[in-house]
Amino acid sequence: MGVRKALTGNYAISYAVKLAKPDVIAAYPITPQTSIVEKLSEMIESGELDATMIRVESEHSALAACFGAAIAGARVFTATSSQGLLYMHEIVHWASRTRTPMVMAIVSRTINAPWNIWPDHSDFMDQRDAGWVMSYAMDNQEALDLTIQAFKISEDPSVYLPVMVGIEGFILGHTTMPVDIPEEHAVREWLGPRTQGYVIDGDSPIALGGLTMPEDTEDMFYGIQEAMNEAKKVIREVNEEYNKLFGRRYSGLVECVGCSDAKYVAVSMGAWSGDLIEAVEKLRSEGYPVGAVRIRYYRPFPVEDIWEVARGVKGILVYDRSISFGSYGPIYTDLVGGLATYTRTLPYVSNIVAGIAGVNITVDDFYKLTREFIEVVENGGQPPGFRWVRVRR
């Protein structure tokens, strides 16, 4: 079996990448991502990892170089945050629309200006329409496990889409926790050699991404939507295989705590889900019939999984750590839209946007906000549909 090490979330990702044995890594420094690629550079220079590091001059080139290496048959990895991810955005789309398997870690940091290095989900959410499979970890162990799984999912012929794995900067990125690192050989055997739908290596004269008429392009984009649907199945299978091989207990696209008898559910994603689960457990111990739904995979959006637990509940409270200005939190809009495809009578679905720009939200905050929501509904009232909970009011 593997070993247990005390690792930051960033290092947990570095170790996961090492186990997946990429051929090429290209990255550019940005706080709070940098220590992932610093660690990988150290692994490469010490000979621990046989890979090529392309030390590029920008994030745009980081993902472009990864894209180039990937289509030429290399397993690749990069990582970034915030402005860096925004700078990459063009290539983010290029990678998915060419069905290029690759893995990128996003160490979330809010989008600037003003300068701010603290985490919310705005950088991650900015990529939500880009055709990447998107997962988000709750703790460092999951950061490692999701990163390893990302390679498997990305290279599955039913998927062939790039995968991004998110963690919050600092909250996981710079926080040391014990992490079980699986045995290298077992991971490599499970992942197997790199798989992709085509390879551009000069062996046959194919061209990628040339001018395409609307109807043909639409067919290609439709295929991405189909691949996203396939990805749901693949993610569940990969999870099960991984659990069995490495002794984990992950659920599929979402994780539910106390949902079986819940009349209310609180939905969240990321590290603060842990705080929310703690609050929900406290509420349950006090007799409140509430469960917590944690989103592990945001794309494809796990609406079926949420419907499973949400059908028949009286209220759903969605915690978003980013805001689509002029609209709502993105998880909320995805959830309401998704549930509306199942039913014409939705329960109360409320949205709380909080923790924006790195504002700390505690177990206590979750406890109070969730209890308040339940009590309003129980007392026959109507909870506010949308609230932006700020520390300074």
């Binding site: 290399a74 063009e90 290539i91 004269p205 395409t212």
Partner: protein, 301 residues
């Protein structure tokens, strides 16, 4: 025009890769240059093409007009994608395939400059060819930093460009890369020899290829080669190689080190509608730049 007989095997291997019936405008020199590439590399090349005329020239899904591999990439990313492809090939032990970034002047001198500079500084194992038609032709003739002084474009519609042409080859020399050359579509043998030379060198190689555009430069398409040749014969476009810290003047340009041998620059300008409104002062300024360029070349020989 000289009647020198070409040395085989150029014309024969030129037949291999470029398929007829592409989407280039009549007289476009892009496929001419590809024929020379094919003479050197056959189909063992991967062209990395950012947004430019070439993205369109090769045709529409599900076919493309070159019997070789192409990767179409976003505007600013040619050098970076090429770096990635080259590193992957290296790791896979594929040595007989040349990765070539093929980008226009906009994709090189403007939006692609950072990624170009990055790849050059890293000395990634690629050949970067900037085919320079001196404006954004694919979007309809807008000014680039490589547009020459005085030239009309749709974004310099009345006064013409008021600044001098950016000298990208010099910028690349300053990067200390192993090989930099200038070339012209009018001199395919010279271009061929430079590609052959570049082929034998490992690391980052840059070729700045002068490529007149009949549409954007406003001339009869049959004059593509004539105009490209005039650029050299007037001394405006100097063909040279820079290798191992030494600059070598290429044979087509050798005579023109003597200003007396150069044709009058007006012969070049008057054939092109884009210089219709160029002022006397601008012509003087161009001549001053020509002189400065030659002085620079002499200093580095």
């Amino acid at each position: 025009m000289s009647a020198s007989r070409p040395k085989p095997p150029i014309p024969y291997r030129m037949r291999d890769v470029v398929l007829p019936g592409d989407a280039a405008c009549p007289g476009c020199p892009i496929p001419m240059a590809w024929k020379v590439l094919s003479a050197v590399f056959g189909d063992k090349m991967i062209l990395i093409i950012p947004a430019c005329c070439s993205s369109v020239v090769v045709g529409t899904y599900p076919f493309h007009s070159l019997k070789t591999s192409i990767v179409h990439v976003p505007f600013a990313s040619a050098a970076a994608v090429a770096s990635g492809v080259a590193e992957a090939l290296e790791r896979r032990g594929i040595r007989d395939v040349q990765v070539i970034a093929w980008a226009g002047d906009g994709g090189t001198a403007d939006i692609g400059m950072a990624s170009l500079s990055g790849a050059a500084e890293r000395n990634n194992n690629i050949i970067y060819i900037m085919y320079d038609n001196e404006a954004y032709m694919n979007t309809g003739i807008q000014r680039s930093s490589s547009t020459p002084l005085g030239a009309w474009t749709t974004t310099t519609p009345i006064k013409g460009k008021t600044e001098a042409k950016k000298d990208v080859a010099k910028i690349m020399i300053a990067h200390g890369v192993p090989y930099v050359a200038t070339a012209s579509v009018a001199y395919p043998h010279d271009f061929y020899n430079k590609l052959q030379k570049a082929r034998g060198i490992k690391g980052f190689r840059f070729i700045h290829l002068h490529a007149p555009c009949p549409i954007g430069w406003r001339f009869d398409p049959k004059y593509t080669v004539r105009i490209a040749r005039l650029a050299v014969e007037t001394g405006l476009w100097i063909l040279y190689e820079y290798h191992d810290g030494k600059l070598t003047l290429s044979s087509p340009s050798r005579a023109y080190i003597d200003p007396g041998k150069r044709k009058p620059v007006e012969e070049y300008l008057k054939l092109q509608g884009r210089f219709k409104n160029i002022s006397r002062e601008q012509v003087e300024e161009i001549l001053r730049h020509v002189e400065m360029n030659w002085e620079w070349v002499k200093r580095h020989m």
